[in-house]
Structures are given as structure tokens and as C-alpha cells.
Symmetry: C2
Subunit: 530 residues, 2 copies
Amino acid sequence: MNQNVPTEQEVAAPSEGRRGRGGRGERGGASARRAARSGGGPGQQLTYIRRSIKPYEVLDEEGLSLIEANADTILEEVGIEFRDDPEALKLWKEAGAEVKADRVHFPKGLCRELLKTAPSVFTQHARNPERSVQIGGDATVFAPVYGPPFVRDLEGTRRYATIEDFRNFVKLAYMAPSIHHSGGTVCEPVDVPVNKRHLDMVYAHMRFSDKPFMGSVTAPDRAEDTVSMARILFGEKFVEENTVVINLINANSPMVFDETMLGAAKVYARANQACIITPFILAGAMSPVTVAGTLTQVLAEVMAGAAFTQLVRPGAPVLFGTFASSISMQSGAPTFGTPEPSLVSYGAAQLARRLGLPFRTGGSLTGSKVPDAQAAYESANTLNSTVLAGTNFVLHAAGWLEGGLASSYEKFMMDIDQLGMQQRMCEPLDLSENGQAMDAIREVGPGSHYLGCAHTQANFQTAFYRSSIADNNSYEQWSAEGEKAANQRANQLARNWLDAYQAPALDEGIDEALNDFVARRKESMPDAFA
Amino acid sequence: MNQNVPTEQEVAAPSEGRRGRGGRGERGGASARRAARSGGGPGQQLTYIRRSIKPYEVLDEEGLSLIEANADTILEEVGIEFRDDPEALKLWKEAGAEVKADRVHFPKGLCRELLKTAPSVFTQHARNPERSVQIGGDATVFAPVYGPPFVRDLEGTRRYATIEDFRNFVKLAYMAPSIHHSGGTVCEPVDVPVNKRHLDMVYAHMRFSDKPFMGSVTAPDRAEDTVSMARILFGEKFVEENTVVINLINANSPMVFDETMLGAAKVYARANQACIITPFILAGAMSPVTVAGTLTQVLAEVMAGAAFTQLVRPGAPVLFGTFASSISMQSGAPTFGTPEPSLVSYGAAQLARRLGLPFRTGGSLTGSKVPDAQAAYESANTLNSTVLAGTNFVLHAAGWLEGGLASSYEKFMMDIDQLGMQQRMCEPLDLSENGQAMDAIREVGPGSHYLGCAHTQANFQTAFYRSSIADNNSYEQWSAEGEKAANQRANQLARNWLDAYQAPALDEGIDEALNDFVARRKESMPDAFA
């Protein structure tokens, strides 16, 4: 059933660059809007999205209350397992939960009470303060694909990913105006020993980008390495007082948190760093086949996991995460871009807002093996519902292919164009005098055209989103230029960008300290490959 | 500037089949839902959509009132031209408008007053009563692409369309469960003389499908032929009392209605048939470059055109139509799937609801020349906003390619799969005991899976939408099966369907009468090719 199941594992640990102080960046003015419209040529970076549009909602008060009451019942009657972590069970017992073996049963209201200390909005700082992002509220942050062991490369070959691929995706994400976050395991560099690769990954995010990034979660000591490197990059005091890494803590659905994830969650929460508690759901396998049933289980799992971070350190930032997919009831393969996961995302976003937690879901998901029409339909369906749901943190926003098994260079370039469109969509609808354009309508009048009128001349540069991928030329011109499909244009664009890449400046002393740390840690243990 | 501009011209005229009585069809039960989920293999037809989800809105009361006030100002101060139609000008003068040459100026409130007689909801009858559709209210009806002179055929060749292609698209639309309407000019059969092809088109809709269809609008006498053939198919009395054709009346934006469109509108309104008044907008050329300015002009044009149908025959059904695209300010080419047209569609839908008229916009639009990722991203972006806007009649819902210049067999098959997903998305979210799935969660418990549980067994057949196009198999299996892209799978599906097509039964006497009518009309005039 799970040959196609994506893993969503592992990250990179942060540290270095311009020191802390990462206050929120400016929102950018006309030049940022121009960059938004040019669809993401390496140029003016866009600040994270502040949504001016309303979230779309699919559940009313009655439906939401029903699901909340059901989740409370599950938490109390069925309970959630915290496996192989005596410390976690001890914390729960002290908090008033009933613990039987690994199973924790939560008295009604306990999780909600604990979650009162979790912030509804916080800042994740980047080494470049202009790239720091707000997580929660009206903010939406786009981050790249996370987890694939394979890449589909620029020669069209599907192969295991390398650290060189990893660096390339970090570079492309750094250059993409509509990507606000460097992400985590943009692909799994399987050419580096499994117990050391997190060091190279974290260093790549720190060295080749100045955007915020994610930490390693595959073992508690790797999470510790992440925090150590962050302290070198940002300074110890700054890290103690601020959030500089955000980390993916998956529930092992249904209703289990395992030792590895709990270990990483404890490291990060204690260090005041952010956890995204994410039930990883292929509905029909890890949750019921219905939307309401899935939402109930997701809510119960998130409440237990997120409340646990508050037991570890009250006030530690934590997100309500959801990864929503269905499985084919014929083959067991995961499916994407279908209606049911969109409904789960819309509903989970509503539940997260009521709980007062920032929300993560969605992205540009697809089960297609190639960047074809299937990939685009499924990605667009997922991304449209992700943004309209009012999602705060969007992992897998660019580059995801093959159910999360492959990171695709071509898909990455196509997706970031779509992200630029979504960012434009979230801007305020202009009802100013200029927006109303009454002078233009009066000037042009019946039977003429607007191409040359004063209003058009004054506004044409920023009026419409300009795609970096779409070919809107005539058939004849497109044919004369070689009849290229969208992925072929994306291929050329990726090559151009990688050729043009220039690393952001990094203090030499910090770079040296990071390299020393990585070298020391690598020397301290033998290579492991499993 | 307009080498890529789609034309949206011409239709086919209706007549024949099971006699009238076209009451609304059943909504279908579990079997219809199964068909919906199977993504549209030729099988159980779906009734038109009744939306259980809310429309998404981008304008608040203040914004809507501002645009309405501005549109009233444009109608009064600038006016709308009704060109080369003295009868239209006479009707407007009698209604109290100020007429200067071809220009009509509307006193505040006149159009709104006239529109009070237009129905907010009506039924368009099909010769098979189960295929009759509701237009307006909570209904959404999907109809195929309209207007392209070219096809991209199943051999991958782009060439002029023929009457054979036309019949093929009618057949595919007849077989597609998620297409509720046979549409109109599914492609332009350029191998038939221009003054006679409407007869072959209308006959094809009547003979090869039993779904509702559209009438010819390219000349008043072709509209008359449409009505005559409808009378043969449905009976004279039935046509007088019911709506059996729906017809595309484009404004010649900005702010002009021409003789051809006015002539067709008069024929249809007088015969109690439906007109879709559609400003055909490539923003930046036919309207201001801003969303609010475009909405203002669209509202003014629709109010004038729709009110005109009520002057001709109070109570005649009429739709608020919008075709929203932007142009590239660099090349002048139309662009699709970008944020601005989506915002126009959302806003126009709100204005239509306030005006009490059924609404038409959107579809599966793209500027791509091939059914690639660009085609899919742009189509999905357009279709998602079309459905969420609460659109009642969706022309171009399947098969549109190349900015409306080509009808694509492969794209048609891919699009109808997406339409099936949208239909599922509009169903009520199940909050019944079965939907809540509490027993399943209790039965499975932590650490197990739902694949075999009783709830999954009871629901798996209809739980998830099942795509007819997507490949969700493993990379290895997909590779072993020839590494096909989505459009290649769509190609095979179209061939299978056309092989399997069987015409719906048609009364022999009616068929003979229709053929006689077509033959007589063809004999009555020499062939014309321009």
C-alpha cells in the first residue's frame, strides 16, 4: 500500500549570517509588486504574504462544534499513545492525564487549557532580517518541497538525490521572490552518511540562503546539532529569546507519537523553537474515509501533540499541521488534488483558528511522475484550496512530484510562478480613484480601446501578473520557437538561474565557526548508511 | 494585438427527441455519486450541480455599492451604443432613455426597473427531461468549449475543424457524466458553407445528444432557423411556453452592441428563449486595466443589454455573462489563469446575485498551445474560481485550448475529469453519524490502520473521487506501462469513448422532419464561404 507514501522526514539545522535582530521586513512597495508580477525572475524578493482576502469556510458553527466535541471524546475515551518516551508519560501524568502503558487519556478541557500558553502569532527570524516571516494571523509563508529521496533532474533523469541537488534547490528557493522560506529537506542527500547529512543540510540553508529554514527531526541529537548551529549563526542569547527554526513533528497516525518525533519535539520546544504538529494522513488508511471523521482524528492528534509542547515549555511556538491526502481504494496509492483533501484542509484551517494556533497544510501536491498536465491540475487544485483556506505555513509549495518521492527542478520553476499568482491574489482589491478607473472609461468611450489611454499608460507595468513560464504568443510564433511545452521552458529557466546564482554575504568568522562545528561533529562518529 | 483573440461566435440550433415535458431530472442517488467518483467513464449521467457550498466573495457591501453607483453613472453620462438597429433605438426612446445617434443614455434606475421582469431562476429543457437543467440559484451547469476554428486532433495535428469533429465533440459531451449541457459551437465546422453550417450544428446537437444546447447567433435568420428546428423537436406550443435554447449574445466591448448580436437577441427574446449577455473582456484592451474599473464597465454593459431583452419581451430569460481575461501588456496576447480574471469573476458573480440574474463566467481557459502543464495550471485556476464564485452556467468547461482558437480532444477528456471533481466538491459535507465515523475511530484505535475496518468496507466505493486520467501508481509500474503523460492517457480514453458511442433514440418522424427542414433551407440559398 505504501510504495508511494512520501516520508516527510528530516531537515537541516540553522546557524549564521547577519546577526539576529530579525524584525519583520518591510512589505515592499511598487517595486515589490512589479517583482510579484514578473513571476519570479531572480529579482526583487517579496515579503511573506499578508492576506487581504477572506478565508473560505466549509463548516458552520454546528459542524465545528460537533467535530470539536467528537475530538474531545476521542481524547478522553480512546486516548493517544506517546510511545517509548517515559519522560513524556511522566509529564502527562503530572498534568492530570490518565496514563495506561503508553496510552494517554485526556480529561475534557485539559489540552485546550494547556494550549492557552501557545502563541497564535510569532516571528521566525532569518539571518537577513528582511526575510524574517510572521507565522500565524493573516500571514502566509511559502516553503519548498520537503523529504523526497529522488530528484527528477534537468536532463530528465530520475535518480537518487545528492547534496549537490540539495544545494541547488536551496539556491533556487533563495532566488525565487515568491518563496519566503528556505524549507528543510528540499531533497534527501543520500550520498552523505545518514547520521551526518543533517549537518550538511543545515549548513547549506545557512550558507546559500538568507531566508528562514527548518531543523532536523530525525533524532534528538540531530535536533541538538541544529540548535547548536543556530546559536553560532544567530548568537546564543538571540536564540534563547527568539524563534529561528521551525520543525516538522509528524504524528504517526492514527493516534500515535513515536520516540523519534517526541525526542525532537522536546529539544526544540525546550529551546523555544517552533514545532509543526502534523498528523500525516492518507485518509482511508491512517484516518476514516470521511471528511468529518478525518477532521475529528486530526484535531484530537494535534491537540495532544501541541499541548505536549506546552508541557515541555509553556509559550513555545507550535503549529496546527495537517497533511491531507486520500488513498486509492483500488490500489492503495495516495491521491492528490481531489476534492476530499481540499475539504479536509478547509475544515482543519477553521478548527485551527478556533484553537488559536497558526495553521499548516497543503502545497503543490501531485501523484504524477512527470511535470505534465496531471501534475499541474493536482497542484493547482491543492494550492488554490491551501491559500483560500487561510493557511499560514505552506510546506511543499514548490518542486513536489511523484507523491513526494521526487523533487523536480522543472516543477519547482513552474510552481513558483503559481505562488507569485497566489501572492497577487491575496493583495487588497484596489477601490481607490485609480482603481475605479472612471476617467479611463469616460476617456475611451464606446467602440474604442484602452491600449493607449492615460490610465493604461500609468498602470500597465503593474496592472497584471506576468508569468515567467506561460507562453501566450500566437500558435505560429510558438511553433517557430520550437513548440516547447511548459516544462521545457521551466528547464531553461532553472539552468539560467543556477548559472546566475550568487551567494548572500556571510560573516567569515561565523562561516568558519560553522564549518568547524560540522567537521568536529562528523569526526565524532563513524559513517552510518541506514 | 488580437491574433490570439478567441471569437466565441456562432452556435447550433435545436430541435427533436423525446417530446417536451422537460421537468427537472432526479438528482441521482448512490449510483450517481459512484459515477461522479469514477471520473466520467461513459456511464451514469450526473444531474446538473446543486451547490451545497457557499460562494466565495471578494467585495464587501461598500465596494459593491461603489461599483454599482459608478456603473449607473456610466450608463447615464457615457451611455451604451446600440449600433445599426433603429428598432432597438426606438424601443429605448419609448422606454424613457435619451438617444443621440446610436448612443443610448439611461436615466438612473431605468435598467434596474426593466430587469425586475427577468427571472432569477429558470429551466432550460432538454429533449430528455432528465437532462433538463436549472439555470440560476444554487445550480451550476457545465457546457463544452465554444467557438474554436481549429482542432488539435487525436493524431496530435492542429488543423481546421470539420463537421466530423463537431459531431465527435457532441458525442463526447453526451457521454461525459459531468457535462450537463451539449453547448453550442463546440468547434467551427469550416468545411461547411458559412451560411449553412448552423443547420448541421443544430441538427448534430439534436441528433447525437439528448442534453440541452445553444442556438445560432451569427445572423437573425440563423437564429430563426434555430427556433424553427426547436419547434420541430419540442413542439410549437412547448417552445412558446418554455425555454429550450440558450444563446450567447456578446457585447462588443467597450460599450457597444452591434447589429448582429442585437438581431439574434431580438429573435430569441421574442421566442421566450434565453440570452447570455456577455461583455467579452480582455482587460487592458476592452476594459480598464483595473479589476474595479472592469467590473464597473461589465455591470453597465450587462444592465443595458439584459434590460434590452426585457424591452423586447418582459419575462424573457436572460443571464449576466462575463468573459474575463487580461492581455499581456508586452505582446497584446490574451492571458488566462492569472489572478486578475479570477477577481473579476468573483466580483461579477456578486454583482449578478444582487441584480437577481443567473450568472455565466469562466470555464477551463488557457493560452497554451498544447495540453501541457501550462494548460492545466491555467484551466484549474480558472475553473476553481468559476465554481467557487457560484457561477450558474459555465461555458468552455471542457476542451478549450490556445486562447479559444483550438478545441482539443485530449484537453476535453482531462477537463471533464476535473469537472467531476468540482461536482463532488459542491456536494454537502456529510455530518451524519456515518460521516462522523466515531465507531471507526474507536474500532481502529492507536497504531493500527483503517483499510479493513467495517466503516471503510461500508463506504469505500463512494468515499473518494476516482479520477479517470490521473496515474497514481508507483514509478516502477508507471514506467513499465510506457511512461505515459496525462494527455496520452486522455488520448486513449477519447478513442475508446468514440468507439463505444451509441446515439440516443430519436423519433423517426421528428428526425425526418428535421432533415427535411435542413435540406430545404440549404437549397434555398447559394453556398457562402465568408
